[in-house]
């Protein structure tokens, strides 16, 4: 049944284009809601025992001559990712409610990204997996280049070329695995013993390809530029789900297919991840544009996910998966506030300009949302960010104690840049009213809309629920991770 997330999303996308534009956003909302509901139903109804291994949903021969099957499956890790996709997608549509320019096209590309992500999270067959993975790249280009803002064409092209470069590395890795083992099925590949000499070069190619999408340092530069150039929906999807494709695929494909290669390279991944955490946090501290701050914070937080993967123990890897969920929600929330709630009304994202506007009075709901999002992002206990990062650090303590110390410094920096952005954007000293907002004539007519409130509440609920009771997800993630091959 969960496979319907994919079909419904793509059907919705095609319907959108066919029908008159008045229906566009409603179709998009219904489609994404249906995806979320399917995810929640699966979450509630599927027995936890079934989620401990990759349970097949559909398996049909597709191109028998080459051994390609249409094979979908789900386990705890996939389910978590499906959930975060659903949550981000619904809130993204809500925050794009008033997109007016080429509306049908906008929601078409958006649903294509969402459907591709569902596909990646559920595929077992590597051909299918890679088809969905590449399918996500193209719509991102159009979403950003047509609907974006600052420097959009450059940002879109850079992001697309980086993603496609990663994609080509992945393609090479998948081909090598396929040709050597003679199968494309992840379950079978995870049983196959590749010769260690081959793993030593095939693993880094494959993993690096995925890690480009996850924003690994030093191949992360597409992320801040892309996030800033993208429209709000684009940044929310990018940071919320698309970056997770990279880390998810690194775990599901690279680490499971080439476990020995992973053992050889894990400390290098950890090193890059730690550098990414600290470096991106330090850079974020110096940014003037609010979206750049959030863009770099995404790189920093994805560093945690990569560090969690590199720990190679069940706790750390589960923490990484939890972080993918948590950051998906938090980043979407941050970008929603910065891109939609603030920028649409103030027409600026410059922190210095914002600080003179007394926005906490003018936009109390936005201020409230941003406080919650910042708290979650900093890792205050009670929010999902804390649960995820502490799990990762406990996991990392067993393998790389030094990394934990350095990461600690990174967390302090993270708190610093988040607080700086929060204070500057909402709680600046009210000197003279310099900004455009309070003097803007039609200012009063732009209160926070209902759609925005619903979207923000959904995201805040998700981060709080998982933060207060992480067992909800961890119970499903842990057994699935423990069943994975690289732990044996």
């Amino acid at each position: 049944m969960i496979a319907w997330t994919i079909y419904l999303t793509f059907t919705g996308g095609v319907l959108l284009v066919m029908l008159p534009r008045t229906f566009a956003r409603w179709i998009a909302l219904l489609t994404t809601l249906a995806g979320l509901v399917l995810g929640i139903v699966a979450f509630l109804r599927m027995p936890i025992a079934d989620l401990a291994h990759f349970t097949t949903i559909v398996s049909v021969p597709w191109v028998p001559a080459l051994g390609i099957n249409y094979h979908l499956a789900i386990d705890g890790v996939s389910l978590t990712m499906v959930l975060v996709t659903g949550i981000s997608a619904v809130s993204t549509v809500l925050f794009s409610w008033d997109v007016d320019h080429r509306q049908r096209e906008f929601f078409f590309w958006l649903l294509l990204v969402v459907g591709g992500c569902y596909g990646v999270f559920l595929s077992v067959d590597l051909f299918l997996f890679f088809a969905f993975y590449e399918l996500v790249i193209v719509p991102k280009y159009f979403l950003i280049a047509i609907f974006g803002s600052t420097n959009k064409e450059y940002g879109a092209m850079k992001l697309t070329l980086y993603s496609f470069f990663g994609g080509m590395l992945v393609f090479a890795g998948i081909l090598v695995a396929y040709v050597t083992a003679g199968s494309l099925d992840l379950n079978q590949l995870a049983q196959f013993h590749f010769n260690p000499q081959m793993q030593s070069w095939a693993f880094p190619v494959l993993f690096l390809g995925f890690a480009v999408l996850a924003g690994i340092w030093p191949l992360h530069t597409w992320a801040p530029t892309g996030h800033v150039a993208a429209p709000t929906a684009g940044s929310m999807l990018l940071a919320g789900i698309v970056m997770k494709l990279g880390s998810y695929a690194g775990l599901r494909v690279a680490m499971n297919v080439f476990p020995e290669g992973f053992q050889m390279w894990s400390k290098w991944i950890a090193a890059l991840a730690v550098i990414g955490i600290v470096y991106a946090a330090a850079v974020a501290l110096r940014q003037r544009d609010l979206k750049f701050v959030i863009g770099y914070s995404s790189v920093s937080h994805m560093g945690f996910a990569l560090l969690g993967l590199a720990t190679a123990n069940a706790l750390g890897v589960s923490g990484a998966v939890l972080q993918m969920f948590s950051h998906g929600v938090i980043a979407a929330l941050l970008f929603a506030v910065a891109g939609r709630m603030l920028y649409r009304r103030t027409h600026t994202r410059e922190l210095d300009a914002l600080s003179g506007m007394n926005l906490s009075r003018a936009l109390p709901f936005a201020a409230f949302t941003f406080v919650i999002a910042s708290a979650a992002s900093m890792g205050i206990p009670g929010f999902s960010g804390f649960a995820a990062e502490i799990t990762i650090l406990i996991g990392a303590w067993k393998t790389y104690p030094i990394a934990v110390w350095i990461t600690g410094a990174g967390m302090v920096l993270a708190a610093a840049f988040t607080l700086r952005a929060l204070v500057k954007s909402f709680f600046g000293e009210v000197r003279v009213q310099t900004g455009r907002v309070p003097i803007d004539a039609d200012w009063k007519e732009q209160p926070i809309t209902l759609a925005e409130k619903c979207g923000a509440c959904l995201l805040m609920f998700a981060t709080l629920a998982v933060g207060l009771y992480p067992k909800l997800l961890l119970d499903r993630i842990m057994p699935a991770v423990e069943a994975m091959r690289f732990l044996k």
Partner: protein
Amino acid sequence: MRSLASTISYLELLKLAFPEVIVVISALVVLGIGLTSRRGTAVSGVSSAKPPTRAVDTAAATGWCSLAAALGVVIAIAAVLMLPRNASLFGGMLVITPLTSLFKIICLVLAFFTVCLARSEKALRHMGEYLAIILFATVGLMLLVGSEELLMIFIGLELLGLSLYVMAAFDKTDVRSAEAGLKYFLFGSTSSAFTLFGISLIYGMSGSTGLVVISEKLAGAPAQPLLATGIIMTLIGFAFKIAAAPFHLWAPDAYQGAPIPSAAFIASGSKVASFVVLGKIVLVGFGPVHGSSAWHAMAAGWSPILAVLAALSILIGNLVALAQTSVRRLLAYSAVAHAGYTLLGLVAGGRDGFSATLFYAVIYAITLVGAFGVVAVVRSESGGDDLENFSGLAARAPLLAGCMAIFMFSLAGIPPLAGFFGKFYLFSAALRAGEDHGLLWLVALALFGSFVSLYYYLIVLKAIFVDQPSRTAPALDDVWSDLLQRITVTVLAAAILFFGIMPGILASRILAAMP
């Protein structure tokens, strides 16, 4: 050969060559219609009192010509379907196998779409003659595909070539068309000379022009310089036909200058047939001197030659395409790159590699005919085919823009389009061929090439979807003016999507038809 005269049976020959005969007859019919109607226009032209009638006359004649040509092609397809499964005449001069039948049909289908494109090409005068030449070129394709004998292959090659030279130069009002024709002719005739020279050397060494016999003779023969010369000379002719670097220099001018249906035909039918024949020659005829192009075990033979051609084509084609501003030139350089990818399957060899090559060649041909169809519409409405002419096409003609997006992404190898499966099939076949991933270097180069290529395909799509339409560009909302062209393009785009989602349908047919 000795008892040729005694064994010949004209009835048999007519039966087996029936599809070709039909195409020739329909070419003559088309020519006849064209001639008679033109005499009529000449008469009314003298009086010049009623020019509108003359225009109507010509349009009607064009319509009848196209109809006759299309009908002939369709009947020929039906005739191919009724051929016996396997047959061979005159020591391989005319061979019928599932493979030849399949590719005769594919060539005919491509010719059919070319006729559709030609129908709406307004710049062309003397439509009857143009269509007849397309049909003669199609006969050339069918002879090429359906022969396993070097002389017959050479005759097919020349028939095809001579028709294509004329087609390239057909637009007499345009200097570029003349340039395209002349360049294509000069390069083509030179490379034909090379091929003929190569064939004569091979004949001298093996005493036969039949591919199967050649292969038997070569198997026992020691490697010698003369053989190498013969093989290289033969390959050069085909490298020219498929526009592989460094024999690609004619391609940009031909693609840019020739009338659009001619360019589409050069890029599609001619390429597919050339790959079929090239594959047969190297895999059947030169099979014993395969050599090896694995990076750790290079061995002399034709495979390293093709590998070098492929590598050069991928690099030169993709890098030069980056700098193009004319969409047709861009397609030409990308064609060079795609010839490189397609060669990968032949380098790999075997049934798997050959069928991957053919699958990719067919998909590529369909894509290019479609892309040229879009270019034709844009050109006829806005007077050019530079990137600026495409800007804002998404707002002017959403359907065409969507189709162009499908073609470009298929060329770039983005799923779920057929080009993606084609690349997957090709690259996996190439990797599987050499032991210990010997061809990884070539596959890595091809992957790098695909990465580079995405940039220039995106530039085209950026013009279409992102840029604002320039003020001078008219809206392309006059759907009825070139309905046929639009339908053709849409059908081709749908085919690309269909073969991307259901690649097995075509791939398994090609694989099953492999000898």
